[in-house]
């Protein structure tokens, strides 16, 4: 087994699935010879040719719209949008079409396609390169949304996404693209879509998080010696694994949610609503959320003011512990 980072793990998944399934095609800006700006598609154009690995014109609506057409007619397109901020020109295709083709045609046409897109801040980038737009997509019925937190689940989730019969948005947390190296099996395996993962067992507080923040939460938890924290990595944001969340919260009675997107209407709110519906009477304290603020993510110099930190996470855990009277 080789030690891979997230970029290499996704690359491996693409490479292996493309070898098995000749219907898979890749399309996106600079994904060919350049291997994508983060090098996720490195070497694939050489292996599979320009017809299967297409450097597209600079047009996100074009990329997603043509992917729908390809998906509906027998291909399995895996598209790349270079940064999450550039999803917006493709929103019409995603929200109004990729998600609805099955329903509109009552199953006659479907869109089995994957959209890969980096997400999130923490790399000190330019405007539109540090955003977290997952809530818009989770809010859209007909789309699935997954986000790996490490190289192992990245490979497994990618294979599941490719084989899924519906459109899957595959968010790649760019902050951890190269930050984690771990053993990734060469052999084929899947990580199921729709299943959360309890990363660490604990009894006092549940922390629910996903993507790049699983790593940060683990680090923060290591600094907390007096609290037993259970960490849930959602892995799939839609469809959400409510059962795992509820089981954990019922056990601990306390919950903190960590995500970096803006707070209002963010995904933490949905999780809190479900806890409210299904575990309210087990709660010993109000659920806390550590999120970004309701502002545009600051540029490089002041970005850290916006992002969750170890301290913000620790403070939130302290607060629920205090509120529960423990």
């Amino acid at each position: 087994m080789a030690k891979l980072n997230l970029v290499e793990a996704i690359n491996l998944a693409l490479k292996q699935e493309m070898k098995k399934d000749g219907k898979i095609v890749l399309i996106g800006e600079d994904i060919g010879e350049d291997g994508g700006v983060f090098r996720v598609t490195e070497g694939l154009a050489k292996l599979y040719g320009n017809e299967r690995v297409m450097d597209s014109p600079l047009a996100e609506s074009g990329i997603l719209g043509t992917s729908i057409g390809m998906a509906a007619t027998g291909l399995k397109p895996i598209s790349e949008v270079q940064f999450e901020g550039f999803l917006m020109p493709a929103f019409d295709q995603l929200i109004s079409h990729a998600s609805r083709i099955r329903n509109r045609s009552r199953g006659r046409f479907t869109a089995p396609m994957v959209l890969r897109c980096p997400i999130g801040g923490g790399i000190k980038a330019l405007e539109h390169h540090s955003d977290s737009p997952e809530a818009y997509l989770i809010h859209t019925p007909g789309l699935k949304v997954v986000i790996p937190s490490n190289p192992y689940n990245a490979k497994g989730l990618m294979i599941s996404a490719i084989r899924d019969p519906d459109p899957v948005i595959f968010f790649e947390p760019k902050k951890i693209y190269r930050a984690i190296k771990m053993e990734v099996p060469e052999k084929e395996y899947t990580v199921p879509i729709g299943k959360a993962h309890v990363v660490k067992k604990g009894d006092d507080v549940t922390i629910i998080t996903y993507g790049a923040w699983v790593k940060t939460v683990r680090e923060a938890v290591e600094k907390m010696s007096d609290v037993s924290v259970e960490i849930v990595d959602l892995r799939t944001l839609s469809p959400l694994d409510t059962t795992t969340i509820i089981n954990s919260v019922k056990k601990t009675g306390k919950c903190v949610i960590v995500n970096e997107a803006q707070r209002t209407g963010g995904f933490a709110a949905e999780i809190i609503a479900r806890i409210n519906e299904k575990a309210f009477f087990n709660l010993e304290a109000p659920v806390e959320r550590v999120t970004g603020y309701d502002i545009v993510v600051p540029l490089r110099k002041f970005e850290n003011l916006y992002l969750p930190t170890h301290q913000k996470i620790i403070n939130a855990v302290d607060k629920v512990m205090k509120n529960s009277g423990k």
Binding site: D34, P57, A59, K124
Partner: protein, 355 residues
């Protein structure tokens, strides 16, 4: 019945070739001082660019998009513009910013990742940098429509790359501009690359200029490394716009000498020999050759210009780096005219957490 119902041609303009040879009858009527200004601003732009690349390598600024090779497109167009005209740059128009009067230290601050760097002085008619490719084109058309509706004698000018012409926003903008006869000048700096994608793979059109024909107005390709040709085409187009005759698309055919940005490695996908060919067509060298012939250039003059540029640049870096950090709470100040109750609460939360 089948017959030809339309025939089209595309114009090309070059005045000053790479050897400094000049098509005298087409040279704009410049004062000597204007020619010197062109040269000096191109030098200043390049000095800024060189410094920014160095600062990026030292971690003192963030990702940076170099202007090298495109100075004539930017300085030539910026000289043609009048005070009331409004410019909409993309993200590579450092030369335009400088020529238009944006204080240089602000540009350094912006690229260092400080939003205050994009606070554009009230008397400088420029829009902020637009990172999303193509998205600012409709803004320029809208502003032009607004000038027309308000009977202002001003035009807008919008910069974008060859890659941007693939975005829907480009086509919608061109169409609106044609339909409303908006006083806008579209300036496409066709530097032949959009990151790793060469323009031949970006579009099947032989030129970008000809795309205007489909939208009912004139497009012209100019030698983008020829500052006279750029100036000439842009000033004609601006005059036309200001006199109510509608939009123009100007394709400045040029070359991206540097990597796409400091995060890019062009060697990976682009033949170095191609870059060498284009280095020989350098816009600054070309103007220098012309000025030498006309007796407008001397070693002493050159040295003065370079020294002055370097001084301006190093003073700007100093000023930018001397800027005190913002107070943490300031990140909440610019979302709305008045902070919402949520923002006030979140601001308190951040300030509290920092203690």
């Amino acid at each position: 019945m089948e017959k030809i119902i339309g025939k089209f041609q595309t114009k090309y303009l070059q005045i000053l070739d790479e050897f400094g040879k000049c098509d005298e009858k087409n040279v704009p009527k410049f004062k000597k001082s204007a020619i010197k200004k062109l040269y000096e601003y191109m030098i200043l732009t390049r000095a800024f660019d060189d410094k920014a690349l160095k600062l990026q390598r030292q971690g003192r600024i963030g990702t940076f998009a170099s202007t090298r090779g495109q100075e004539a497109c930017q300085i030539g167009s910026a000289l043609a513009i009048k005070k009331d005209d409004l410019i909409f740059p993309a993200f590579r128009e450092n030369g335009v910013y400088l020529m238009r009067g944006m204080p240089m230290y602000k540009l350094f601050s912006y690229w260092a990742g400080d939003e205050r760097g994009m606070i554009i002085p009230e008397n400088v008619n420029l829009f902020p940098i637009s990172i999303t490719v193509g998205a600012h084109l409709p803004h320029a058309v809208g502003a032009a429509m607004s000038f027309k509706i308000q009977k202002k004698k001003a035009a807008t000018m919008v910069f974008f790359g060859d890659g941007a012409t693939s975005e829907g926003d480009f086509h919608e903008s061109m169409n609106f501009a044609g339909v409303y006869k908006a006083p806008v000048v579209f300036i496409c700096q066709n530097n032949q690359w959009a990151i790793s994608v060469p323009v031949k793979e970006q579009t099947s059109s032989a030129t970008i200029a000809q795309k205007a024909i489909a939208y009912g107005f004139e497009g012209i390709r100019v030698d983008g490394n020829d500052v006279f040709a750029v100036y000439r085409a842009v000033s004609d187009a601006l005059k036309k716009a200001r006199s109510g005759k509608g939009p123009t698309l100007i394709e400045c055919f040029t070359y991206r000498i540097s990597d796409h940005t400091t995060s890019d490695e062009a060697k990976k996908y682009r033949d170095e020999s191609e870059v060498e060919v284009w280095k020989k067509k350098d816009p600054i060298d070309r103007l220098k050759k012309y000025m030498l012939k006309k007796g407008l250039f001397s070693d002493k003059y050159e040295k003065n210009v370079l020294t002055r540029a370097e001084k301006i640049v190093s003073e700007a870096v100093e000023k930018s780096e001397a800027l005190k950090d913002i107070k943490a709470g300031e990140i909440f100040e610019y979302m709305y005219e008045k902070k919402t109750p949520d923002l006030i609460e979140q601001q308190k939360e951040l300030n509290g957490g920092l203690k």
